[in-house]
């Protein structure tokens, strides 16, 4: 997961030490796929930052029962590992990108390689492998209709292995939250 994040981070050579994992963690990961282990405290920290990405470390520490420095170290680690990002999110339609769409894709052959090709495209902001009548679902952000047409017809359909695509142009974004940790 987060392959783009990991890629951008591993481009930074000084972080290579952060990526290797302790023996203890890898033992836990072995029974859980490649998912890094997250204890209750880290989850609580994430919840705090899902409410407000700029909340001070001291305030988070008071909420989760840790010192300011400990929270800071944990947050930095979560960011380094690519488990979490702290970013501004908007509705693209309100900031100048006038066409946005979800595209369902069917693949023949290796799905993963198609997914990697889509991930490399800057217009694709979201790529998911799915079960169901689509193998992949991709969200794309474009500046106008011509751009959208180009991306779908020339870029996506040109990827080897793509059999069919079906597009769902966005009319209105009704909800966008990241606070599922706090419900």
């Amino acid at each position: 997961m987060h392959s783009d994040i990991v890629a951008s981070r591993s481009a930074d050579p000084k972080d290579s030490r952060e990526i290797r994992e302790s023996p203890r963690e890898s033992a836990r990961e072995s029974r859980n796929g490649s998912t890094p282990h997250l204890d209750a405290v880290s989850l609580a920290i994430i919840e705090q930052l899902q409410e407000d990405g700029r909340r001070p470390y001291a305030a988070i520490g008071k909420a989760v029962g840790l010192s300011e420095a400990a929270v800071r170290q944990r947050v930095q680690k979560l960011l380094d590992q690519g488990v979490m990002q702290i970013v501004a999110v908007t509705d693209p339609l309100t900031v100048g990108f006038r066409r946005q769409a979800m595209v369902g894709i069917n693949v023949e052959g290796d799905v993963e390689s198609v997914a990697d090709a889509l991930t490399a495209m800057s217009e694709c902001e979201y790529v998911v492998m799915t079960a169901g009548s689509f193998d992949l679902m991709v969200e794309i952000v474009c500046e106008d209709d011509d751009h959208l047409l180009d991306v779908i017809n020339r870029n996506i359909r040109a990827i080897p292995g793509v059999r069919t695509t079906e597009s769902f142009v966005y009319l209105k974004l009704k909800k966008q939250t990241y606070m599922w940790g706090t419900r």
Copy 2:
């Protein structure tokens, strides 16, 4: 857009003054739907925060050519207006929510009212009205298969006006970015 954000903000009475718009802005909005006007500087600020949601105001100011205080005022206004959120985002599959799915929905009658009902559900983190073979697309986050089944069969299908649903269970999240402003 951002109906959930707006709702949570308007619950705060002291912010009511922020919502009214200046005559100048409303004139610009009239030729642009209800979208609040964003000038190049605000877009540049958003780009900075899409790279790092915790970047200091002074650093942003240096990048966009504004004082620290001016950046702070603009950011606060963008947050108050609901144009932007600064939050932590993760892959839900890595933090304990083991089932996630995109659901395409067909509606008979008023699409907006169905969308509002979906927006009110805590399991729906993303609701979009679309053109194409679905009227709505919804991303849902669940703890396990039983929970997922419940949400789809009992909650979503029970909404008046929902004609059909089609589910795409997530197998793997490959990409998730918010940096389209910086390409």
